[in-house]
Amino acid sequence: MANTSSFSSSPSTKFSFDEKPHVLAVDDNLIDRKVIERLFINSTCKVTTAENGKRALEYLGLADGQHPNHNDLKVNLIITDYSMPGMTGYELLKRIKESPTMKEIPVVVVSSENIPTRINQCMQGGAQEFLLKPLQLSDATKLRCHIKKPLQGGFAGEDDHA
């Protein structure tokens, strides 16, 4: 079965579009994308998934040759797998942190492997957190609380102002 779309976004149901935090989930594994998407939708977030780092950068307007003119793009959290073909989650993290427009977005790295040097590398690189797979509902709930806080770059939460 081929997943032909590069990104897929979930439809909002109960709340208006702008109120829900927007999570960008990057993972090359189809099953993991589906599970992460459901984890965050159940934590009342809007979710966009990308199958690799290159697609994620394109979505964020950070790919080579792109002009970062996505003033209306609101991403409140990026969650990325570490081991991906082409560009690792760490490399994606670095690219995001180098961007003047996107560097404030918290980036969480997830991995199935508990490797201290890898964890250190990501934390040094500016990751918000490093979590082990498989992710659980409690992880999503915890992360959801983090992104409730007002961030630069415009997340207007239900209670606070950007």
Binding site: M1, N29, I31, D32, K34, V35, R38, N42, P85, S112
Partner: protein, 152 residues
């Protein structure tokens, strides 16, 4: 006794057996918790994706191990994928074989890899049959007008 209760008991017992025998682990419970009225088929959908993806990977692995010159990195990449997805749905025995499989890849041990491929095919086949049975039992409970008593 009420047929719904009997069917539910059957389902609960069968599920417990799968956990006891190590076919499933807690991650499967996590998936069940993600299912609700707005997404009533989530578990079946994810597991179906797992079946399709695993079959693709097992085919790729068989092909890769038949080559004249074995590409261990490619094999490892496939096994890594299979390990990831089996872990994500809680298919514990499949995941465990994948861990051993990756070790043999690292050692470039062709016999070890071939043995693991056979093992992982067996474990996959077993868990597939068991999950299909589980879903059938769930359908029977629902058809009889009962509800699925998760978590079990």
């Amino acid at each position: 006794m009420d047929s719904v209760v009997l069917l539910q008991r059957q389902l609960v017992d069968y599920t417990a057996q799968l956990f006891n025998e190590g076919f499933l682990d807690d991650q499967f419970n996590q998936l069940q918790q993600l299912q609700d009225e707005s997404n009533p088929d989530f578990v079946v959908e994810v597991v179906t994706l797992f079946f399709e993806d695993s079959e693709r990977l097992l085919n790729e692995l068989a092909k890769a191990l038949e080559q004249q010159s074995i590409d261990y990195r490619k094999i490892d990449a496939h096994v890594h994928q299979l390990k990831g997805s089996s872990s994500s749905i809680g298919a514990q025995r499949v995941q465990k074989v994948c861990i051993a499989f990756r070790n043999y890849c690292e050692e470039r041990n062709i016999e070890g890899c071939q043995k693991c491929l056979q093992q992982v095919k067996n474990e996959y086949s077993l868990v597939k049959t068991k999950l299909e049975t589980l879903f059938k039992l769930e359908q029977q409970v629902l058809a009889a007008g009962g509800s699925i008593p998760w978590p079990m």
